[in-house]
Amino acid sequence: MIELSNVAYAYEGDFTALRDITLKIGAGESVALLGSNGCGKSTLLKIICGVLTADSGHYRFNGDEISKKTLADASFSKAFHRKVGFVFQNSETQLFCATVADEIAFGPRQMGLSDAQVAERVADCLELLGLNGFECRAPHRLSGGEKKKTAIAAVLAMNPDVLVLDEPMNGLDPRTERWLAGFLKDLTNAGKTVITSTHDLELVREISARAALFDENHTLAADGETATVLADVELLRRVNLVDKFYHKHGTGDHTHFHTHN
């Protein structure tokens, strides 16, 4: 479904964000991009959803080349954007309608669905994301967690094949985090491809079967089963994702500053 080969990207041609990234993601997979701040996770997600295009290398989606040239074709670009939904790290940036209901209805209306179909999707998404009762609220009046849910609902209403989430757990309280982890798992079980970037090593096991680990040189340091990648503590230290206090207790990982005596 998603094939990235030797992809590289630098902001303004000077600030390297990605070097030589090769990654294949199949339909229905759940993949987490792991790495320290500034390693290029968000840039890769933006390339995957077509907000940015690679400086070099190739990106193919369902066999179609995704490049500046192909995205310049309005029909191709819109069909592609419909298939790949993107939830920004800061949900506030993607909410621009007057009410939560309008926000969710924006995509389906763009797709030319009938009013009844739009209403059905809005009602289903409100129900699915636990936003019932919020439909007439202005998005900027919502809490951080509710904004995140609204942003996800607005993207899901277009029924994308791939859902890309940039740091979805950022700014959420533990309860909403747990809820979102469960929800992403449900989406994967329903056949959606879910790609997330995260630092949360606890939740990543739950939301993704596969993990791709970036190092600080903006290259891919590891790609494999989440449990296997997370078990290599030395590698996690080398890429600066954990410190020397990180360790395991049974099946759980945690970090603290005291010793076990």
Partner: protein, 264 residues
């Protein structure tokens, strides 16, 4: 999970072009890139304070000049500086200066029909000098260096602070707007008349965001005991590059003054 969400959807695109959105994204990317690159193009080894002072002096001298030969001297001096720029900075500076010059030329063109050939030749040349000089300055240093130079000239703290915070907000809100417009583009997967209404929504969200940021900054400043003073301590070092640059500028300004005083 609703039934429609579990199905792969076949969707026929009824495409309309999003030229305005694409152009907005490009424009925002340009502004953010310029601010992010601030100083990275570093085309000068001189201290920012000298650059700021002499750029201002050259612009004032050129603006006050009445003789074309004075303006020609300034034009020659700026052209020599342009020739020393790296290719990317040169392209950007010339493009900016030429657009400003053409704009000035169009405005003063009616004067030519009234027989005032002086305005049609001299005014656009003055605009070129000013636009190129300012652009060379902005490409040579980051904004922090330029505002730091202003602080050295005893420009009031509050003015320097406002300038600093304005540049910071242009960058922060520019990034925010860019993401909003990109999000709009990602969700514009068909054709509706509501697209431009959504752009108004983006503007509204930006306004609310800037209000929140301003309130939070004010609260943070109060918490940190802001008393209106904004010191930017820095030591002025006079190096050989500064001496050379100052001498060249002083010579050009002296020649302009000499021409204005002697040529009648």
């Amino acid at each position: 999970m609703p039934e429609w969400l579990a199905k792969t959807e076949e969707y026929t695109v009824n495409a309309g072009r999003d030229t305005f959105i694409d152009k907005s994204i490009l424009a925002l990317l340009g502004v953010i890139a310029r601010l992010r690159l601030g100083g990275a193009e570093r085309v000068s080894k001189t201290d920012a304070a000298f650059r700021v002072f002499f750029t201002l002096a050259l612009i004032i001298a050129t603006a006050l000049a009445r003789e074309f030969s004075s303006v020609f001297v300034a034009l020659t001096f700026v052209t020599i500086q342009l020739a020393a720029l790296p290719p990317r900075a040169l392209r950007g500076t010339v493009k900016f200066a030429v657009i400003a010059t053409l704009f000035a030329f169009v405005i003063v063109l009616p004067a030519a029909f009234a027989g005032n050939r002086y305005s049609v030749t001299v005014l656009p040349a003055k605009v070129f000098v000013s636009a190129a000089a300012v652009n060379i300055l902005s490409r040579a240093y980051g904004w922090d260096a330029i505002t730091g130079a202003l602080a050295r000239f005893r420009v009031p703290d509050i003015f320097v602070f406002l300038l600093d915070i304005t540049v910071k907000y242009i960058f922060t809100l520019g990034e925010f707007t860019l993401q909003s417009v990109q999000a709009l583009k990602l969700r514009c997967v068909g054709r509706t008349d509501r697209r431009y209404g959504s752009l108004a929504g983006v503007a509204g969200v930006l306004f609310l965001r800037s209000k929140t940021l301003a309130e939070e900054t004010q609260q943070a400043m109060e918490c940190r005991g802001f008393s209106g003073q904004y010191p930017r301590p820095s030591r002025l070092k006079f190096r050989s590059a500064d001496a050379l640059y100052s001498a060249a500028n002083l010579a050009v300004i002296a020649v302009i003054i000499w021409i204005e005083v002697t040529v009648k």
